[in-house]
Amino acid sequence: MTTSVDPHADTAPAPRVSPDARRGGLKAAERRFGLLLLVPALTAFGVVVLFPFLEALWLSFYEYTIAMSEPEWTGISNFVDVLTDEAVIGSFVSTLIFVGAATVFSILLGLGWALILNHPFRGRSALRGLSLMPWVMPAIVAAFIWGWIFNSRYGLLNAVAMEFGFIDYPQAYLSTPGGAMAAVVIAKVWLSVPLFMAFFIAGLQSMDREQVEAARVDGAGNWHVLMHHVLPHLRPVIMVTVVLGMIGNLQHFDTIWALTGGGPVRATTVLSIEVYRRAFEQWDIGMAAAVGVVWVATILPPAYFYLRQLMARTE
């Protein structure tokens, strides 16, 4: 730590002689250092993500069930099965609906709540902190609470609806395809709103207030300010939340499994449920892997372009 460098030293290090030479030499050294910084993350990523991913890719070309001690090569037959299976196609549709709806509503409500909590009022800070609670609760409990609300017997929704005379008998919301999908989306949105709210609050804080004031002087209403100043300013935040929402919702498993188990029939069998069932209920690892691979192949092109654009904006 005591090796200080004297900037006035006459005997400057060699690279200083020629600016170009210095740049070339240092660039290589810098690059090496940059790559060195990557080593820990890439190693970890390689071991716990990439290698398992490649093995799954490999297994998707094999038949591998519990009855077999070694996987057996079957070529593309798993993929043929996956792509011709109506049930699998159905789970792609369910996944699109779930991920789409959960992402959109999480962002809308997160943004709405952020705008409200951005307005100064007493107790705002405490309210912001408390708003993170859904995120902090163990996810299993979130599933349980919402299951309770929609439950056909002890459910709160039924109790309230019957109290007000809207219905005569308890309704089984989770037993209709639409109701079950709505329930899993609502539960997931509830879990996600706090995170997104935090993102938007932060985005709002860096807004240029003078610009908004100026627009107000020109007679702009709330709606105009929202559409022409706030949203454009938040655009990068929205783009990031879309990525986080997509990843989080795509991978979401616990609350769906606990709330509906993928049912009724197959109404909420999203990709993560389908893969889990194939792998751990039907013991068909090859098919489970094939479903996962088809999924990644479907999502990768749009994801790639989206992420590339996102990176281009960042730099």
């Binding site: 069930t65 519990i66 009855a67 077999m68 001690s69 439950n151 056909s152 017997r153 008998y169 089984a172 989770l174 037993s175 209709t176 395809p177 188990g261 049912g263 009724p264 029939v265 197959r266 069932r277 751990f280 209920e281 039907q282 013991w283 068909d284």
Partner: protein, 419 residues
Amino acid sequence: MTKITQSLAVCLAAAAFAVPAQADTVEFMNWTYTEDSGRDLIQSLMDGYAEASGNEVEPIGYAWSDINKNAFLRARTNTLPDIMQVQARFLPTIANIEQVQDLNEVFGQETLEAMIPASFLAMGQVDGRQVALPWIAGTIGMVANQRVLDAAGVTEIPDTVEEFREALVQVRDNVPNSVPYTMATKNNASILLDYLIWSWTFGADVIDAEGNADVNSPEGVAALEFMVGLMNDRLAAPEIDRPDARRLFGQEASAFYFDAPSAKNFAADFSGQGEDYAVNIIPMETPTLEEDGTPAAIQWGHVLVMFNEDNASPDSAASGFLMNLLSDEVLVDFALVKGALPPTVSGLDSEEVKSDGYMTAWAEAAVAPRANPIAPLSNGGAISDIIGEEVQAALLGQKTPQEAADDLQARLEEALAEE
């Protein structure tokens, strides 16, 4: 100097040999240990064996719903336990694991046949191999809650399907907010059992002796129509899985449901009144179409599987533990507490079993239990999902019984052809 070292080495070696053979550890993978009501029970079984033998037993607990997944993952990594508790209907799947030992070769077929009656020994057989020994045995049959029947004014246990229906209507009309029969309507694996029993009752095989699908025959459709009719008349309800049924039953919001004999313990737990409540739980014959028909029931039980060749001698610690679990002193109490039968000759013959009214009644109610025909299929998991989905579609009104039965027939034929 060298001499001293040498003699020291000799001494040490001698000492090492003089020490009695090191105590072995038996790994016992089971789900009962993870259940509140079972932990102490299993702990005392393990302690008992440890004390008697000097060996250790290490419990590996997984939840019931997670244990097969973990057996599979462990098979992939050669970390299978020595002994594992398996639900009898999943045994054919587990039997695929290479390290499963044929217990006829370990203990000798004659020894086992002398110890365990043939009908129970069959629970542990797959393709002619004795891959498991029965631990506790029973059937899945119907139970009624006497207190709910009293509240509804039902005076006699229904005998025919017609009487059963009438009893359900009485319960619905007289016990507010009840689900008279908590039929499984949510989880595929649970729906399967209720569906099998009603199909058999109406004379459809679901999967017949030759392994063909039999679900859209007039009998099969009639069974499904009966189940759908119960839903339409609010005699059964959507969103019911076995745990929901147990809770509602114990809380006196349901009069009938299908379960293993442990129904008694669940009811005691959920009633909040403890063991005293068990007197209200009546094992009954599944209603039949005609009077004096044969009531349908499914064979049920937990079996014990041994893994790893190292254990495959009668002197191994694992064998010792297995035999200890099946000895009268240990087994009889355990089985009765679990509300099941001890499947050994001497256990069945014991005074405790004979004097247990509940078990006697249960055995009388299930005269001719049938084996679950889905269980032995190599793609049983997938087939169970197919049945669950189509039956559920009918129960929830998404398909008519006829449509669901036709679709189910077609899907089963396809899946069975792949088998």
